[in-house]
């Protein structure tokens, strides 16, 4: 295990990370860094601006801090230094109309004792929304992920992909503006994953969602994102940024195009370089 490092200069590419986008950004990461209590340096100071309506993907070798960065954005953990802004303000005003945040975990994290509709209704119940107001929203969210026929089922009666859909419906039911997803489809087979990616691309487009997505899959990253942040480890940092210049919403046609293959090839090369750079520090 590596102990606290002396501050080292970031490499050239990492310095140019702040991207200027149109409109006010949804999230700004301002020199936020994370040093864990055991002294491990999870994240070197990071500057990142996430534009409204952007689909941003974090990808990189394990230990590169992509999940840590996502948790910082979700305010699940606090930065050791630096700060974050949400819609140009602090986290206290997140949750107001137009500034809602939802998080989809790696696991579906459904309540096994509750039916699909009750699981999806849960976030609304936190806000004490009356049943009559909540029910149409719940039905709509379940319909969005194509599970209307299963709204009276229990989670154990559903497949892995369907559970993940329920988890997404639960995130959508609050009508979020910022959707954070931590490797949501990592445990699914490729066919199911592609299907869910197709739906996600449409959903985020229709709802004008700002999405931050963590994945290990190169294909998934290229297919979904408007911008891909390639990260490297030791310490966790932004290595390079790739912009995917392809109009949204996308479909299978994009996956089959030579352009898609070219993006994947380049991203794959970058990831290999990022891994090499990450190995230098000794690792965990």
């Amino acid at each position: 295990m590596r102990v606290l490092l002396p501050a080292e200069p970031l490499d050239e590419t990492a310095k140019q990370v702040t991207m200027v986008c149109d409109g006010p950004p949804a999230v700004e990461v301002l020199s936020a860094e994370k040093v864990f209590t055991n002294g491990a340096r999870g994240l070197a100071p990071i500057d990142l601006s996430i534009a409204d309506g952007e689909f941003l993907t974090l990808i990189g070798p394990s230990g590169c801090g992509k999940s840590t960065l996502l948790k910082l954005i979700a305010n699940l953990i606090e930065p050791s230094d630096g700060r974050l802004l949400w819609w140009r303000g602090d986290f206290a005003q997140v949750g107001q109309e137009g500034r809602r945040l939802a998080f989809v975990f790696q696991e579906p994290t459904l309540m096994p004792w509750a039916r699909v509709e009750a699981n999806v209704r849960l976030p609304l119940e936190f806000g004490n929304m009356p049943r009559a107001t909540a029910d149409p929203k719940v039905a709509d969210a379940i319909a969005r992920v194509g599970l209307s026929r299963f709204n009276r089922h229990f989670p154990r009666q559903l497949s892995g992909g369907m559970k993940m859909r329920v988890s997404i419906a639960r995130a959508l039911v609050t009508n979020p503006n910022l959707l954070l997803m931590d490797e949501p489809f990592g445990a699914l087979d490729e066919f199911t994953r592609n299907k869910l990616d197709d739906d996600l691309v449409n959903l985020s487009w229709e709802r004008k969602l700002t999405t931050v997505f963590v994945t290990h899959s190169i294909y998934e990253a290229v297919f979904l994102s408007t911008r891909i942040i390639v990260m490297a480890a030791n310490p966790g940092r932004i290595f390079r940024i790739m912009t995917i210049d392809q109009p949204q919403p996308r479909d299978q046609g994009f996956r089959d195009s030579p352009k898609f293959a070219a993006y994947c090839r380049e991203l794959s090369t970058w990831l290999a370089e990022a891994s090499l750079q990450s190995a230098g520090g000794g690792g965990s």
Binding site: L76, G95, T109, M111, A114, F126
Partner: protein, 266 residues
């Protein structure tokens, strides 16, 4: 329609019943052939005859024991659940009080029953207290464990959504604790009966409010061994029925979602 012997439910009942019938038959025939005197060890038919003959008094005794058992069981469930809720409120409370719960559990009820019977004037009440002490611990430990065993992912989700303490308790902790709680109920229901019978033995109360334990004591004094067995049979039957009731209750509540009560779909 499947043949009866292939149905799972039928086999589950029929197989143990068949074993029972065979055992009883061996007992009956063997003891008849060896002509064991009834005052040494009765045959099943002797016990059955005694059960019929002493029916009213045994039934009254059963009701007395059952009342103590159920009162103690309810008291243990209410108290145990309250204590468990208190324990999960703060680590400090649990750490400082849990050893005393263990103390209560490991002290044999026979040893403290005389004290309780002396201290508490009302016999019924003293018996109930003894039985409650025996039945309490599984409820406390299981419910505490259940309330603590929250799925970490779900707990995160609740925290992220700024769910209130109360909502987290009602929507997450209590439903999650139910399987553990029902496990506690099963053990505790049997212990309440054991506690009640043991306390009755110690109290040795005669008269109108005497339970099955007194029937056994009394049968021993008068060497009415078949009546002793009949009372024993009723105690065992009560225990089995209590356990079955708890199993049915937990199945009814958990069957929709918990792995322990759901059958593999075919």
């Amino acid at each position: 329609m499947k043949p009866l012997f292939e149905s799972e439910a039928f086999v589950r009942i029929a197989a143990p019943v068949a074993v029972g019938i065979v055992l009883f038959a061996i007992w009956e025939i063997g003891f008849r052939l060896a002509s064991v005197p009834v005052y040494l060890f009765p045959k099943p038919t002797d016990i059955f005859a005694s059960l019929l003959h002493n029916g009213p008094s045994l039934l009254r005794a059963l009701l007395v024991t059952l009342r103590v058992t159920l009162q103690a069981f309810v008291a243990a469930v209410v108290l145990g659940t309250l204590i468990a809720f208190m324990f999960v409120q703060s680590r400090a409370i649990e750490v400082s009080l849990f050893p005393y719960a263990v103390l209560l559990q490991v002290t044999p009820v026979v040893a403290i029953a005389p004290l309780i019977i002396i201290l508490v004037k009302n016999t019924q009440l003293s018996l109930t207290i003894c039985a409650t002490l025996v039945a309490l611990f599984p409820i406390i430990s299981n419910t505490t464990l259940g309330l603590r065993s929250v799925d970490p992912g779900l707990a995160n989700f609740f925290r992220m959504n700024r769910a209130s303490r109360f909502k987290t308790l009602v929507k997450l902790r209590i439903p999650g604790a139910l399987p553990y709680f029902f496990g506690g109920l099963r053990i505790s229901s049997g212990l309440a009966l054991i506690g009640a019978v043991v306390a009755e033995f110690v109290a040795g109360t005669g008269g109108r409010s005497s339970g099955l334990a007194y029937e056994i004591l009394d049968a021993g004094f008068t060497l009415d061994i078949p009546r002793m067995f009949a009372a024993l049979f009723l105690i065992t039957l009560t225990g089995v029925l209590l356990f079955a009731a708890m199993v049915a209750l937990s199945q009814w509540v958990l069957s929709d979602w918990h792995d322990s009560e759901t059958r593999a779909e075919t």
